[in-house]
């Protein structure tokens, strides 16, 4: 703790990086997971392909992804994108299943009612299915966000990674305080993000808390 206080500026700086590196992949991954999850919720075949694929993607060690990404998408090895892309991959792998489950759990009679009232498919998805899937989706998003905040540290491999830097440095110089500082930072950030999403979920889904 004293380290954080004494090195406030540095701590703040890595916090900012860490935040950026976790927010961007979560948003991008979420955006990608929505159509994929929708597909999986509609087609058992898509499920049969997407879910195992997501599992396998999730097991690829981050270092391997970081090495391969620049080759695949043609960015420089030390570019931030190179950390972001693997995190996006992990987020998508985590979120596809929750989005699919959330959409499948929307009561059939409600979607039938929407169709019967003359909704066209896209509008129905945006204004009925998706909002109703929000509570479950947000629960999944909370997990994905928190996991992401924890995974951002791998960026330290290419000299990025927010708190990951503190881990490396602390480790190399046998400086437990620094490692602990990074750890605290990560957990606090995660708990805060989790809380923000929880609140956001409440605000966005007022109906879920009323009644029985």
């Amino acid at each position: 703790m004293t380290w954080i206080l004494e090195n406030w500026e540095r701590f703040w700086e890595v916090t900012a990086v860490h935040l950026r590196l976790s927010v961007v992949p979560v948003l991008a991954g979420f955006a990608l997971a929505i159509p994929l999850g929708w597909w999986a919720s509609r087609s058992p075949k898509a499920r049969a392909v997407l879910f195992p694929l997501a599992n396998v993607l999730f097991t690829i060690p981050s270092i391997a992804l970081i090495v391969i990404t620049p080759v695949l998408i043609g960015v420089r090895i030390l570019d931030e994108i190179n950390v972001i892309v693997p995190l996006v991959v992990y987020t998508v792998a985590l979120m596809v299943r929750s989005v699919a489950d959330a959409l499948s759990a929307v009561p059939g009679h409600v979607t039938a009612a929407a169709t019967a009232m003359g909704y066209r498919p896209l509008r129905r998805f945006l204004t009925v299915d998706f909002p109703l899937a929000l509570p479950v989706t947000i629960a999944g998003l909370r997990v994905a966000t928190v996991s992401n905040i924890s995974m951002v540290s791998v960026g330290a491999l290419v000299g990025l990674g927010g708190y990951g830097q503190l881990f490396t440095e602390g480790y190399q110089t046998d400086h437990t305080e620094k490692v602990l500082a990074g750890l605290i930072g990560t957990v606090v950030l995660a708990v805060l993000a989790d809380g923000v999403l929880l609140l956001l979920g409440r605000v966005l889904t007022p109906w879920a808390r009323v009644g029985r």
Partner: protein, 281 residues
């Protein structure tokens, strides 16, 4: 295939800024800070990209222009660009390195400071087997567990070299980190009895480890040397960095490392600045 050998998108940083990088161990970090602070003091625009995980990544980074300048060690760098290089002596290595570097990359003057690999044992082990040099170790190799970085198993100046020159084969090899805390911890708790550490590592002194002499020169010279993108190596930059190398000897490096390891764990930047001003650069 080797994914690192194919090119990435090359979009160098603004030409007037020098991006200084470092590997993720304290000494590299410190040297990079010294370079950066010195250049900055000369009015050159500098930005930093520190603590890059390993050589594969940062060497690639220098090639694709992500960083322009990084402190390196002659021996390992040579081995990196040419796995088979046989040279061990300080001058030979330096000369070979200059030739072997790919187009666009250059090394400036090497410093006297050297931070080479060494086989290290604890005081107790040294006393138990009366060890001073690698020669003394030979009869006991088969009883001891050796710890070092994973690549030590295959490097010519690693296990193969020890076997070829000393006929020393250890009972077991444990892959640990690159002369870092894991290796130190391994020695301390006797998981390994001998290990590969770097000569300037302050942990050696702090833990009263014994560095075994290497009369047959298995370990190649490892002079500190700035690796730089040729396009960024203006005369002013060259002069500044060469001046640093001139002042930097092994003893200085040891002292600096000791400072870094002090209980209050000062920031490398601060240590770098202090040294630069005391050295008058």
């Amino acid at each position: 295939g080797d994914p690192l050998s194919s090119g990435g998108g090359n979009e160098p940083a603004p030409t007037d800024t020098i991006v200084v990088g470092s590997a993720n161990f304290p000494e590299s970090r410190l040297l990079a800070e010294i370079y950066a602070e010195a250049l900055a003091a000369k009015g050159i625009k500098v930005s930093k990209k520190m603590n890059i995980g390993n050589r594969e990544l940062y060497f690639k980074g220098v090639q694709d222009g992500s960083i322009d300048l990084i402190p390196e060690y002659t021996g390992v760098l040579l081995k990196h660009v040419n796995k088979e290089a046989p040279e061990v002596g300080s001058e030979e290595v330096y000369a070979a390195l200059k030739k072997a570097l790919p187009q666009g990359l250059v090394v400036l003057d090497k410093a006297a400071a050297e931070d080479k690999d060494a086989v290290v044992v604890t005081k107790q082990v040294a006393a138990q087997y009366s060890l001073k040099s690698l020669d003394d170790l030979v009869p006991y190799c088969k009883d001891l567990v050796f710890g070092g970085p994973p690549e030590f198993q295959n490097r010519p100046d690693g296990l193969p070299g020890l076997k070829a020159k000393y006929n020393c084969e250890f009972k077991e090899f444990k892959a640990l980190d690159v002369g870092g805390p894991v290796t130190v911890a391994g020695l301390k708790d006797n998981t390994v009895q001998a290990a590969d550490l770097f000569t300037t590592d302050y942990a050696i002194k702090a833990n009263e480890f014994v560095v075994l002499e290497d009369p047959k020169n298995v370990f190649a010279a490892q002079n500190v040397v700035p690796l730089i993108n040729e396009k960024k190596a203006s005369q002013q930059v060259r002069d500044t960095l060469n001046a640093i190398s001139k002042k930097l000897d092994t003893k200085t490096l040891l002292e600096l490392n000791q400072k870094l390891a002090a209980p209050e764990k000062p920031e490398p930047e601060k240590v770098a600045k202090e040294w630069l001003s005391s050295a008058g650069i």
